[in-house]
């Protein structure tokens, strides 16, 4: 690792000021950033630890909305009785990220800021049409994700919270890539009174995406059967030693059906 200063502000304003420093970078759980720094793939002048900011932690469930502070770790979401009562699919997703030690450190804000093409939370955020709340604005999920590792965030902008509209039912089906523990392909399906949303992670070279045909079919009738005959093209899917583009395209269909079945 290259050397850097380590700062741990306790307010958002102090964090934003620290991040204004040239080449300063945010750190939350460090479960992505520390391995990156070890590989010398980044050279920040300073790391600004966001986990000491009280207003970025915690969970609130009210008026059909689940709000999760950006610095809330995956284990806290997985174990939240409040969220489980309203939106169990989100707890299940968080509880299957990586392993227990990763879940004890990794945060929802870090995951959504990083937008790894195989990460789990982006599927839930896009699949529910959640709102990404930052220290300067609110960004709808449909505008937030802009391709792998790319988001609408400006330099130094901090994800302070995520706001999820609670669905009538939802489920996340994850085909685990066992070496990395990320999703080889994962699909989040959520049913609202206004229609169904389907978001796919792990599959596309453009990162997380919505599968419009499946959404239309499931909005007409929410059943595995209504997905019959639908498929996504292999063109533009990720191909690597773990799976070809054809295989991932196939998995999108399989995981969508499994998610619909699990949502019930």
């Amino acid at each position: 690792m290259y050397a850097f200063d380590y700062l741990k502000p306790s307010t958002l304003d102090d964090a934003a000021a620290a991040l204004a420093r040239e080449d300063a970078q945010a750190i939350s759980g460090g479960q992505t950033l520390i391995p990156t720094l070890k590989a010398r793939l980044a050279q920040p002048s300073a790391l600004v630890d966001l986990t000491g900011i009280a207003e970025m932690r915690g969970i609130a469930v009210a008026d059909g909305t689940v709000t999760i502070g950006g610095a809330t770790c995956h284990a806290a979401v997985a174990g939240s009785a409040e969220i489980r009562a309203a939106f169990p699919a989100l707890c299940d997703l968080a509880g299957r990220i990586g392993d227990p030690q990763v879940r004890n450190r990794g945060t929802i804000g870090g995951s959504v800021a990083n937008n790894d093409p195989s990460a789990c939370y982006p599927a839930a955020v896009l699949g529910t049409g959640a709102t990404v709340v930052t220290n300067s604005r609110e960004i709808p999920a449909d505008e937030y994700f802009q391709g792998m590792f790319t988001t609408a965030l400006e330099e130094g902008e901090i994800v302070t919270a995520l706001r999820f509209p609670v669905p009538q039912k939802a489920a996340y089906a994850k085909f685990v890539q066992p070496a990395s523990r990320f999703a080889l392909t994962g699909v989040f399906v959520a049913k609202y009174s206004g229609g169904v949303r389907v978001a796919v992670t792990g599959a596309s070279e453009k990162g997380v995406f919505r599968w419009a045909e499946a959404e239309a079919a499931l909005s007409t009738e929410f059943s595995e059967g209504s997905l019959a005959g639908l498929s996504v093209p292999a063109d533009g899917m990720i191909g690597d030693i773990h799976g070809s583009p054809d295989y991932r395209a196939h998995l999108v269909g399989v995981m969508t059906r499994r998610a619909v079945a699990a949502a019930g």
């Binding site: 479960q31 720094l37 300073a46 790391l47 392993d99 990763v102 004890n104």
Partner: protein, 162 residues
């Protein structure tokens, strides 16, 4: 350099660290607590698992500065006060839950975290929990048996105490 202070296995310690000093380096090099191992250094293997404020974490993926003010428990803090092995450690010995022993500190620290929140886990729950702990020797069966046996002994002790 910055000064950090924390409680490690019940003792107050402090030291100078760089921003980039990992918690595992501070424990091993700074404090000489070499029971915590570094297997992969890429956040995959779990040989470095310690507890921060009671929760298991990978000490190779936490900065020492981030643990300032925290309570840390390492494998050196797991034995009974008289130096005998704790129930969980003894179960690893009794059930041959280790061969080379390199993964064992992480396995014990991870299992201890599991048993704290789930005192009688099923075999499936144990295997699921150990997702982040890799063992090259045992094939895991005896590790799982050791944790099941420790859970049984500990719940027997808890009942006897009531």
């Amino acid at each position: 350099m910055a000064q950090v202070s924390m409680t490690v296995n019940g003792k107050a310690v402090s030291g100078e660290v760089e921003g980039r000093t990992l918690l595992v380096e501070f424990l091993r090099t700074g404090l000489g607590l070499t029971g915590t191992h570094v297997g992969c250094d890429t956040s995959q293997c779990g040989a470095c698992v310690v507890h921060i404020d009671g929760e298991s974490v990978k000490a190779c993926t936490v900065f020492a500065a981030a643990a300032d003010g925290a309570e840390i428990t390492t494998i050196e803090g797991m034995a009974n006060a008289d130096g005998t092995l704790s129930v969980l450690q003894q179960a690893f010995q009794d059930h041959h839950g280790l061969q080379c022993g390199f993964c064992t500190p992480g396995m014990v620290m991870s299992a201890a975290d599991l048993l704290k929140t789930n005192p009688s886990p099923t075999e499936h729950e144990i295997r699921d929990w150990l997702e982040g702990n890799i063992c090259r020797c045992t094939g895991y069966h005896n590790i799982v048996k050791a944790i099941q046996a420790a859970a049984a002994t500990m719940s027997g002790q808890a009942q006897a105490a009531e």
